[in-house]
């Protein structure tokens, strides 16, 4: 099957999902991000790679953090950035997703950063661009439904590589609501592609997708077993609405079994790092003593995120 993310030369033209990308492209993005880390430390935090290009942040679903980091990343690449909060504009007037895209293409957009509540929406956009012959316009998925959040996955990999140097000896645990998490899916594909030998998923059966083992993941229901001797713990956000249905009885019971406390973290390797895509629910999935503790790398993740998004945008726009 044609891989919609790659151009005919096998180079990245859209970033839609980590799945299906070769290791060499992931490594290229991480290496490029490393070179941009230095830019962010300068007084003048700009490089001219996207000068004259227009980046449209198309957020069909609310987000402050991700949109802001994409905006900063695009500006550091000298792009013109246009933020469109679609909830408040065309979609509410009945315009279809692809009509919106056509209109923005007519405004000479070069790159779309798309967040959408429906899994697969960025694929639809990428395919449409191909059908209308706009190979010069690129799409970066900033989170689609439960499917993928590839730049978060990549910044997580950047963080792991930064602290652990290489992937080939690691045990990584992903804890919490994997069923509804696009971050978890992107992390799983990135970890397995980069050669992490043991990826674990920890959570109650109600929050784990079926057939996770087919993705190369070891499933644990007991956090005490799952955290044993891991090098990296990735905590996932638990949305409040998960507590209202039949998935979980209460936030308290969830925290008792799957909240990351200092006691549970002690089961991991002594130098294990703790990650979280944010925003955190303190006292629901993570204890403040861990979130603010010495093993947490949650704020560095945010900083790395800017460099990773600069790398992704400069690579797709350059191909």
């Amino acid at each position: 099957m044609h891989n919609p993310q790659l151009n005919k030369d096998g180079e990245l033209t859209h970033l839609l999902s980590i799945e299906g990308l070769p290791q060499r492209i992931l490594t290229q993005i991480l290496d490029t991000a490393a070179s941009f880390m230095e830019v962010s430390a300068r007084d003048v935090k700009k490089v001219p790679l996207l000068r004259g290009k227009s980046v449209f942040n198309l957020f069909f679903e609310n987000s402050t953090r991700t949109r802001t980091t994409f905006e900063i990343a695009a500006k550091r690449l000298s792009a013109d950035v246009i933020n469109l909060d679609i909830n408040k504009s065309s979609a509410s007037k009945g315009e279809t997703l692809l009509d919106t895209i056509d209109n923005l293409c007519a405004m000479h957009a070069n790159l779309f950063v798309v967040r959408h509540a429906s899994s697969g929406a960025p694929y639809l956009i990428a395919e449409h661009l191909r059908n209308i012959g706009r190979d010069d316009v690129h799409v970066v998925n900033a989170g689609d439904g439960r499917h993928a959040h590839p730049t978060q996955g990549l910044l997580d990999m950047y963080t792991i590589r930064h602290y652990k140097k290489n992937f080939s000896q690691l045990r990584v645990a992903i804890v919490g609501d994997i069923l509804h998490s696009r971050v978890a899916r992107s992390d799983i594909h990135a970890l397995t592609t980069l050669g992490v030998p043991e990826v674990r998923a920890i959570g109650p059966e109600t929050l784990l997708p079926k057939h996770l083992d087919k993705l190369g993941v070891h499933v644990f229901h007991d956090m005490n077993e799952g955290l044993k001797d891991v090098d990296v713990v990735i905590m996932l956000r638990l949305q409040n609405e998960r507590m209202t249905g039949a998935l979980l009885p209460s936030a308290g019971e969830y925290f008792r079994h799957y909240g990351l406390t200092p006691q549970k973290l002690a089961l991991a390797k002594p130098d294990a790092i703790v990650m979280h895509p944010g925003p955190m629910n303190r006292g629901v999935e993570i204890h403040s003593a861990v979130a603010d503790g010495g093993q947490a790398v949650i704020l560095p993740q945010v900083t790395f995120g800017i460099a990773v998004r600069m790398a992704v945008m400069s690579i797709v726009a350059g191909n």
Partner: protein, 415 residues
């Protein structure tokens, strides 16, 4: 008008006929096979050299969003009778609506229109429609289309009431609670793509409930669009117990699986969803062995309703003009002989409906399909008469092309 269809291979599965000979049609009925009937003067000849002459297809599920175009599509696909589910807008829950549909169909004069009346008012699953009135207006049975009856007591009472009059009820078995949020089969693909899943249990729970109520009421039930291996197993057990239950499978489910969603292809969204490979194999086996009939589940969807993210796109595919070629494709892939495959789209649906048709014995209504089993054609939007251009097969080559279709002895389509 006396018609001779000559030089074709006549396959009439119900009567175990498979031979090269002429078929004679007089006064809207089959007049004879092979020998020229006495006193028969040919008014018109249809040359069927290299073609198969079989009973007209009977499609157990075709939605008619625009009746003229879809009835033209039907006969272009060799379909001479089609069952229309009641989920039109408005739902077919009043005798006048059914009456109007039947008359409009007769006026157009192509395929025969067999409407299903809405089992409940507005298909809301609560209050019964006027079943006897709908029947009188031409409804062949009663159905909820693909909506569940949430209230089990309402379902029980509906079956009791239908049994009173000897009416059949058609149900697509799908538990409301387990399917209401889902958009794809709960399995490997839905997990990977982050699509909300519909578990197989949504189907099996509904079948188990219906089977138990059939046991208690004796109501005749036809289960539509079975999608899972476990569902087929429950139906086989019901058959074994002698319960009056029949079923059908949408032709796409015989050929496609969850993997065909690929990168979120909205054309692979169906209700019920495409399931796993083992399910597809069980469905194929059920169709091959006669546990189930095959239908098109024709669902024309406008382009705008498919140019959406997978979960927002409407479910369904165009079917009337691909029912025959896809059935042939299935038969070839699964080594099912041609008479058996044709039985599933002719005599088997006739039995489900309790119709006298679906075969070519002398005296039967001359509903006939003549097709070239070797002709190749590419499925493109332009190749379809249906307004529904939505198909996971767009761009693919189809094998099998209808050359002529007769309904009641009238030539209603010829290519």
């Amino acid at each position: 008008m006396n018609i001779e269809i000559r030089n074709g291979r006549v396959i009439d599965p119900k009567n175990s006929v498979d031979r090269s000979s002429s078929l004679y049609v007089a006064e809207g009925r089959v007049a004879g096979l092979g020998e020229v009937p006495e006193g028969f003067v040919v008014d018109q000849t249809i040359d069927a050299a290299g073609c198969i002459v079989c009973p007209g297809l009977i499609d157990l599920g075709a939605r008619l969003n625009s009746i003229e175009a879809e009835l033209a599509a039907a006969v272009a696909g060799g379909v001479t009778s089609l069952v229309v589910p009641p989920d039109a807008d408005p739902p077919l829950d009043e005798p006048e609506l059914a009456d109007r549909l039947v008359h409009r169909g007769a006026e157009i004069g192509k395929a025969r229109v067999l409407p299903l009346g809405a089992l409940t008012l507005g298909l809301n699953g609560e209050r019964l429609s006027e079943l006897a009135g709908l029947k009188k207006a031409g409804c062949v049975a009663f159905s909820q289309a693909n909506r569940a009856v949430v209230d089990t007591e309402a379902l029980l009472r509906a079956m009791e009431y239908a049994t009173t009059f000897g009416f059949a009820i058609w149900l697509q078995p799908q538990d409301h609670w387990l399917s209401r949020n889902g958009i794809a089969h709960e399995g490997e693909v839905s997990s990977r793509l982050g699509l909300a899943g519909i578990p197989v249990a949504a189907e099996t729970i509904a079948i188990a409930t219906i089977v138990q109520l059939v046991r208690d009421t004796g109501c005749r039930v036809h289960l539509t669009r079975i999608s899972s291996a476990a569902g087929i197993a429950l139906i086989q057990r019901a058959h074994h117990d002698g319960l009056p239950i029949t079923c059908d499978i949408g032709v796409h489910h015989l050929l496609l699986t969850e993997n065909d969603i690929g990168y979120f292809d909205p054309h692979a969204r169906f209700s019920p969803p495409l399931r796993a490979q083992n399910d597809r194999l069980a469905l194929s086996d059920a169709a091959a062995t006669g546990v189930a009939a095959i239908c098109s589940d024709h669902t024309p969807v406008g382009a705008d309703d498919k140019l959406l993210p997978f979960g927002e796109a409407k479910a369904g595919a165009t079917g009337l003009e691909v029912l025959l070629p896809l059935t042939l494709k299935w038969a070839e892939a699964e080594h099912v002989d041609l008479p058996t495959a044709l039985a599933r789209i002719t005599s088997a649906p006739a039995e489900v409906l309790g119709l006298a048709g679906g075969h070519l014995a002398p005296g039967a209504a001359a509903d006939i399909c003549v097709f070239d089993p070797q002709a190749h054609w590419q499925l493109t939007p332009e190749s379809l008469q249906s307004r529904g251009k939505n198909s996971p097969w767009l761009g693919y080559m189809m094998t099998g092309k209808v050359k002529a279709t007769l309904v009641g002895g009238r030539l209603v389509y010829s290519a």
